[in-house]
Amino acid sequence: MNKPTVRKLTPALIGLGALLTYILACTSFSPDDSKVLYITVDPKSGMNSVAVYDRKTAKSELLFEPVTPEASNTPSAPPVMVRPQWLGDGHDFLAAWLTGMDNSNASVNLAVLPFDRRGPARTFSLPDLWEDGPLWFYMRPLPVVGSTVYINSGSNVLVRLNLETGNVSLQTNEPGLVVLPSPGNDRLFYLAGMTGDPTKGPNEFGVLDPNTFVRTPLFQIKDTNASVFSMAVSRDVKRLAYEVDDEKTPIVHLLETGQPARTISLASLSADTEVLLRHFSPKGDVLYGAFRTPNGATQSDYGIVEVPLDGSPIRRTTLITGAKGGDKGGFPSFQIDISHDGTTLAVESLWLGFGDDAVKAEDCALFLVDLTDPQRKVTKVPIPLPPKSRPSPFK
């Protein structure tokens, strides 16, 4: 190689090397779902706590436990941990819990906690946030975009809390607007038309600009009583699936961009099976949900269903058989989540473990279902049963 060639190649090698280094550094961020946050019960205190399960080492570790010291003359309900969720880069997580549920001083509490790095832990307490009870806190993870969490408060008020500065601002929208998280926590979705009338569901789904609150409608929901609990949106936001409350036979109603609305019957499951649709596969071709099927007069089976949109047979994987508590009060708490790569479903049964009709101790667990395994291999992470004295917030 002579000198002119070396001189000409040097910039090329520097440029290519710099670009390669940049790409390697940028792609090093990848949510690998190796660690799963879940709610457990601290066996020492009996309190709801946040734990993390490491799928590589198959070990769990308690991370956070909110405890409210109680004076003996003013007994009050213990804090109820609602949910933990990872924040964007996976180095921090957000925990949400409710206190004062038995009196008028109810408040929602949030904590941003560093997970695998040193950094400040921040806690926030937001009293008197809701009019309609803590429904929205249980329904979905809290919508977080950037460093701001959005909390539905009342029918037309949205609270914006900056998790870095603690700055709170209120946004007044039209009545009946509810914000939802997006699958990647990168934008806001909304449901409009939530008037509070139990016989009327949302009538519009769309994207909400998190800064200007400008609405971009994506789907008009014609059914009058679409269920907000049984609803899923695909990652490319081109499909919206939902069920309609009190429909005799469970049916998936599917809205697709540029396509006529269609339905998928779930009748093959069984007439009395309830389904809560929750997620689409990353490609948007399979719907995942939880199911509950009555097993005798006082017992139920719980598990997950996979509903292919191409008409292939619906697959069900039973996780809990013959759980006590035949009523459906706790079923909305049986909420599945899906890994970023779409290979694993996670669901925990802690909330079915409250009260006298609790599930068996061996059924109180975090379940991880391997969707790549033809037999749907299930990993069970035990959760201690909560003390009998603790009432379930779902009943």
Binding site: P11, G15, Y22, C26, T27, G146, G184, R187, D236
Partner: protein
């Protein structure tokens, strides 16, 4: 289309959801820094095609700083924001294009640098630094589509430059080329 772009860019960008703009609720296919990189690279290519700057040692030294500035963001005590990430990406894009341009400079012979060319180049660089965050933060859905097109075009331009440089490197390292050089 958006899903396809997201999939394509996922091979070269971590797509950290906390670092992706969604102007008007429309998600960009790559992170803020990569948006800066690809849009910056596109503008740099356009400026190189138009102004044909001579790739001198001094020119490369200045642009080496554009590459090195990215290392500063590894330090956690430095301020970080979406706009800063985008600006650092755009500077890096200008730096990379400058180092990759000699491979194609034979096809686009350089012209002598003058005050106008230098000024125009500097203006283009400064404009791209300010324009990208402005469009992303204030452009709404229209801005999102503009950025998606610019990012896609920038990625294609950069891919073409990378291809030309790889070809040049492989050609120079081939035994036949080595023999002819002797």
């Amino acid at each position: 289309m958006q899903h396809l772009l997201f999939t394509i860019f996922s091979s070269v960008c971590g797509e950290n959801p906390r670092h992706i703009w969604s102007p008007g609720g429309v998600l960009l296919p790559c992170c803020e820094r990569c948006t800066g990189l690809y849009v910056g690279a596109l503008i740099a290519v356009v400026l190189h095609l138009w102004l044909r700057p001579r790739i001198s040692k001094h020119f490369l030294q200045v642009h080496a700083l554009c590459l090195l500035q990215l290392g500063l963001f590894a330090f956690p005590w430095l301020p970080d924001s979406p706009a800063l990430r985008s600006i650092s990406g755009a500077l890096f894009g200008f730096g990379v294009v400058s180092f990759l341009w000699p491979a194609v400079s034979d096809r686009f012979p350089p012209m002598r640098a003058g005050h106008f060319a230098t000024g125009a180049y500097a203006t283009g660089l400064a404009a791209s630094l300010g324009l990208i965050p402005a469009i992303a933060e204030r452009g709404g859905a229209t801005g999102a589509f503009i950025l998606i097109w610019l990012v896609s075009a920038g990625a294609l331009a950069l891919a073409a430059l990378v291809g030309a440089n790889l070809f040049q490197c492989l050609h120079a390292c081939s035994p036949r080329s080595a023999t002819s050089n002797q």
